[in-house]
Structure formats: C-alpha cells, structure tokens
C-alpha cells in the first residue's frame, strides 16, 4: 500500500511531453491552448529556457546552447503551471504537493488541450520528474541512517565531504523507460541542518514507443515506479521527519 506523508519533501513535480522533430507545429498553438485552459490557468507569462544539447557527430561531440521561448499558463495561486514551447509541453506543480490525482488531472488538462490544437500521433519523449528537498539535523547520525542511496568512497579517498553528488541511470520496463536517480547536497534553510536534493527523473527512453492513446497510461505507470523508487531511497528516520500518516 502506498505510504502517505503529512510533510512530503516534494518541492516540485513536473511532467513533460515532447513531440517528434518532424511533427506539425506552429507558433499559434500556445494561443489555441490558452483559449482552452484559461479558466483554470488564467495567468500568462513568458519563460526563456537556456538548454545545453550535447550530441555525437562524425567530427566528435558537439555542444549546442540554445534559448527557447516557452509560454507559461498558471493557476491563480501560481502552484500549477502549463508550459508550452516548440514541440514540447507539460504541467508542473510546486509545493505544497497535492494528491497525485490532483496533479494528474492538471497533466490531463494540458495534454488534452494540446491534442486538440495539434495532431499527436506518437511521443518522442515523456518525462515525470520529482524534486525532493530534504533537511535533516546536521550533527546527528550519518547519511546512511537516512538514505539507501549515497556516496561510497574507497578507503584511500578523502572522507570529509563539503558537497557531493551521486547519480545513476537505470533501465526499466524492459528497456522502454529509464530512471535517473540523483542525490546531491543542497543549501539548508535553517542553521544546524544539512540539506539534500533527491531528484527522481523517470522518462521514456525509447523514442516514439508510446502513442497518443497510451500517453496518460504511461504517466500513471511512471508515477507508480517513481513512488516505489522514492520509498526505496529513504529510511525510517526520514519517514518520521516527513510524518508518515498511518
């Protein structure tokens, strides 16, 4: 049975869909989508996203830095946002995180609105990402008391960490999906505490393996996997900090 917490550490959840590079797209699509979602997402804003793309070419690795413009449609309280850029769209939610059903409903609204504005046959990529910000008392215990996932340094390496990052990408669902798990040191808000960012990024690894009709089922399945991975990353003292509801 899925665990519930009174103080979940989720600071952001994001679901993003990308369409194939050869799919139909034009600059009027964000406007058409806004017409469909403006009652629930009345606030508009413009966001510029700087992206780094690293690709392999015959001449060797090539880095490309590009700035893309995304339209953002927010709920009145700013907690939920739909973002649309060229051949990419999605919904995200900031803390306090609602029940999954409430977030999924916003994802569905975004998907349905875009699907009405543009033909979607297959998805190039789907991603469901949860960013967890965790603060624990700094002097007490060890990282291993809280996490099942962390740095493991050999005896000859420096043991006194001031910041760290550990990560791995695993293949799931018979290679169709992947999940990138990352744990990094963060910036604590309170004195005498240590902060960590647990980033769970679950995504469709096989491009175009999911069609329009299967997209929301994929998202539901991804959420189940992310929940299981989250529980597998943490230990009981963190469940106490998050105040598990029994």
């Amino acid at each position: 049975m899925k665990r519930k917490y009174a103080k979940p550490p989720i600071v952001e959840a994001a679901c993003e869909f990308r369409l194939p590079p050869d799919s139909q797209w034009d600059p009027t699509i964000p406007g058409l989508v806004y017409q469909k979602v403006c009652k629930e997402f009345p606030r508009k804003e413009q966001r510029f996203v700087t992206e780094v793309d690293v690709s392999e070419t015959k001449e060797g690795p090539r880095q490309e830095v590009r700035v893309t413009e995304r339209a953002g449609f927010l709920t009145e309280d700013g907690r939920f946002i739909i973002q649309i850029g060229p051949r990419a769209f999605g919904a995200s939610c900031l803390k306090p995180y609602p029940e999954w059903a409430a977030f999924k409903q916003r994802i569905q609204v975004a998907f349905a609105a875009v699907a009405e504005a543009v033909e979607i046959r297959v998805l190039q990529r789907i991603g469901l990402r949860y960013i967890n910000r965790i603060e624990v008392p700094a002097p007490a215990g060890s990282l291993g008391d809280y996490f099942m996932f962390g740095p493991a340094l050999g005896p000859g390496l420096p043991q006194n960490l001031t910041s760290f990052l550990v990560g791995c990408t695993s293949s799931l669902a018979d290679g169709r999906d992947s999940c990138r798990l990352q744990l990094a040191s963060g910036v604590p808000e309170k004195e005498g505490t240590a902060a960590f960012i647990l980033d769970i990024d679950y995504f469709l690894a096989q491009a175009q393996a999911v069609g329009k009709d299967g997209a929301m089922d994929w998202v539901e399945g991804a959420h189940g996997s992310v929940s299981e991975l989250f529980e597998a990353c943490i230990k009981e003292p963190l469940r106490e900090i998050f105040q598990e509801v029994r």
């Binding site: 966001r47 999605g90 760290f164 990052l165 990138r180």
Partner: protein
C-alpha cells in the same frame, strides 16, 4: 567513515558510513556496493565550495538543470543558484527560504540576481560584504530583492560602486516581473 561537513553553513561534519570503510575495507574497491542495493558504483564528486568560487556540485546542478535531454525543473535551477551564490566570495544569503520563495514567484529574476551578485563579488573591495535579501515594504503589499552592501567603516567611496552596480543591472530589469535594488543599510558585515 565518510564525513560531509555542514556544506555551505559551516555546521558540524555529516557522516556517511561507507560500505568500504572499517571492516568493509577488506572487500576492496572493485566490489560493487551491494550493501546499498546499487548495481553499479555511483559517481561521486567531492569539492570544497570555500576553495573555489563554484563547487563541482553547483556546476553539475547548473548544467543538469538545463540539459535539453531532461525534464526542466525550476526548483533545481533555484537550488543551483543558491549553491552558486554560496560559493561566491563575499556574498551572503541569510534568509534563503525567503529568497527561494521570491524566485519561485519571479523566475525571470534568477538570471538578474546571479549576474548582479557575480558583479558585486568581482567589483567591490575585499572587506565589503553583500547580502541578498527580500525587502518587504511595511506600508504597501510589495516586496523585491535587495542587495545590501556592507563594510566595517563607511565613507563616501562606497556610493560610487553601488551606483555602478545598480546601473549595470538597471537594463536587465526591463520587462522582468520583479525588482532588485542595490543599496546599503550602513550596518557592519555579519
């Protein structure tokens, strides 16, 4: 025993009980860390943010937040900014929760805050301290970022760099949803 010392706060060391430490050392470095349920040895980056202006973890966060292959995350971008500011010489962010909340409401101010703090760290005298805070106007419902420039002893010479910093960011503020003020409150550095 692996110690993680207080990160950017200077708090007491934090420990990670490595599967390779103490008794586990004998099992040597080639063995995957099965004790922690990991199939592969994870990548570990260790860096001291006090030694470099930008720690490796911050660099990674800054890149990771913007890799085109990933689902974008605003909170990760803000976290990367705070880690990065913490590594800049002479820059403090005493009430991080407030700054974090402000940047959530005004994400287009992240770039301005980064740029201005970097300029302040570069241009101001070594004994100057800058503090990035959120100013709440007590009379009207308004708030904005403020970069307080502080030094032990005040003289008229401080006004020129403050003015230059403000002029440098003034253009960047056009069209943004928030605001950033550069000033001093004539308090000593903390």
């Amino acid at each position: 025993m692996l110690a993680v010392s207080g990160f950017l706060t200077g708090a007491k060391p934090f420990r990670w009980d490595s599967p390779w430490s103490s008794k586990a050392e004998a099992r040597a470095t080639s063995e995957p860390c099965r004790a922690h349920g990991l199939l592969n040895r994870p990548t570990v980056i260790v860096e001291d943010p006090y030694m470099l202006s930008w720690s490796l973890a911050a660099q990674y966060l800054a890149l990771a937040r913007r890799f085109a292959a990933e689902t974008p995350s605003l909170m990760l971008e803000i976290e990367a900014t705070l880690v990065w500011l913490g590594g800049l010489g002479g820059v403090r962010v005493p009430r991080r929760a407030e700054v974090r909340e402000y940047l959530v409401r005004h994400p287009d101010m992240i770039e301005v805050a980064e740029s201005l703090c970097a300029a302040a760290s570069r241009r101001l005298r070594e004994d100057c301290q800058v503090s990035l805070e959120v100013y709440h106007d007590p009379e009207i419902e308004d708030e904005y970022l403020t970069l307080y420039v502080r030094q032990q002893e005040y003289d008229e010479g401080l006004l020129t760099p403050i003015e230059e910093l403000y002029q440098a960011c003034e253009q960047q503020l056009i069209g943004r949803s928030g605001w950033l003020l550069v000033t001093t409150d004539f308090r000593p550095p903390t």
